[in-house]
Symmetry: C2
Subunit: 253 residues, 2 copies
Amino acid sequence: MKNETKKVKVNSLKKAIDVLNCFTCKPKLGVTEISMKLGLNKSNVHNILTTFEAMEYLERDTETGKYQLGLGIFTLSRALGDSFSITKVAQPYMQEMANQTKERVYLGIPHEDEVVYLEACYPADKMSLMRSLLGERANMYCTGIGKAMLAFLPEEKIEEYSSRPLKAFTENTITDAEELKKELANIRRNGYAMDKMEHEFGITCIGAPIFDKEGNVCAAVSISGPSLRFTAERIPELYRLLKESIQIIGTRI
Amino acid sequence: MKNETKKVKVNSLKKAIDVLNCFTCKPKLGVTEISMKLGLNKSNVHNILTTFEAMEYLERDTETGKYQLGLGIFTLSRALGDSFSITKVAQPYMQEMANQTKERVYLGIPHEDEVVYLEACYPADKMSLMRSLLGERANMYCTGIGKAMLAFLPEEKIEEYSSRPLKAFTENTITDAEELKKELANIRRNGYAMDKMEHEFGITCIGAPIFDKEGNVCAAVSISGPSLRFTAERIPELYRLLKESIQIIGTRI
DNA sequence: TCTCTTCGTTCCGTATTATAGAACGCTGTT
DNA sequence: AACAGCGTTCTATAATACGGAACGAAGAGA
């Protein structure tokens, strides 16, 4: 659980990857747009883009001339294969939960002390802007999905994690190490984690862990929405849904 | 339809991409393995791998220490979004066809004079080695899937395409421009293309095009298998299945 | 246990090359 | 007609990616 930033040995490659990563935010980009965003020289970016195009990682929109992700990325994504197969397995159950609860449902995995969101499902009515959170990171100590995973990590990791500064996002955020550890114990007892406006004011969320066949937490699912709708009497029902899903998902991976 | 190889402006980036592309063939690779495969210096490859790891495009297997594709690639693949959504739409219909016919079903798109395979479905019994063809390329003039697309391209492209040397793969391969053009006219009339051992001895295949809402060929689907099983009386049935599927898929994209 | 092999990793000098900056041509706009 | 914004090209130089050799660790085999 070391947080030391890994060393970049090839600077030109780092730049190129930065350029490529721009396309995760916006599907079509031009030379100038990227060079401004990254503060790089235009001709530099142009060289990088041209190379990516030659290697088919990028291709050009025949109409606008702008660059977009290409076949090479698609091929790579196929090669990812089953590394992130949880997503495929979990997706239908998540969609089902989203429809039933009319709330948002998220899937995340623990990665380097953080939660990385892999999948998001919205109730069927509004499919809009679904990609918002995908690929984004969040802290473990102040989100339902994060706490659900943190609670079931090996004890030494919990110990190390809670020993660092815990930044407050709202007045409900747990910032004390001892308090956090008690909370995690509670979560282990209950089987689920609640985030009552600890990360964002007005947003409540309930999360539960998924275990692999070795019994380690490999992911977590959460249902999230406006605190006003997450009344005390609704929680058992939400947990029941979550529990069903995570058990099935757990056995299927 | 020019075939000039696009110019690589940043050589170090090309190398890095070559390294990354290795992971499309084999999911887990070590430094030495890659350096031998590409004929590059070991320390060079090591620097590249380290950088990819720092940028999270690669991560390391905690047990073996080998490198594998990482979260960054996953994030990119999500950003691909609907660029290749045909795959998602087509997959269930393809699987259905594979199960019904007990043959292999492929989805491909036209790309720079070639067919690129995007999806492959095998009959449910044997899911083995399914990734074989994915991302691979093939010629348009000697495969069922390729001819199905070629036939419906704009006339000037057909003209240009047939004017070049057509390499023979088997004794059935069409190598004469005029003959090819006649064949394509037939395909347009029939609505489907046959490849009777034109690319590989003993393999027959039937392909049909998918059109987008502007009426352009954007993809094709083919059913492929041992020629011995593709008897004359079976073709109408196979075509019926194909036709149903491509029509539905076409309307859904 | 000791050797031998094989792997990933580190180091450093040099030759390669990625890069910045200015200039060009193009397109669409005011 | 002048302008603004875009992608592209060119070239010199400073920056750095790279090759080669050497190291430490881990595993195999005798």
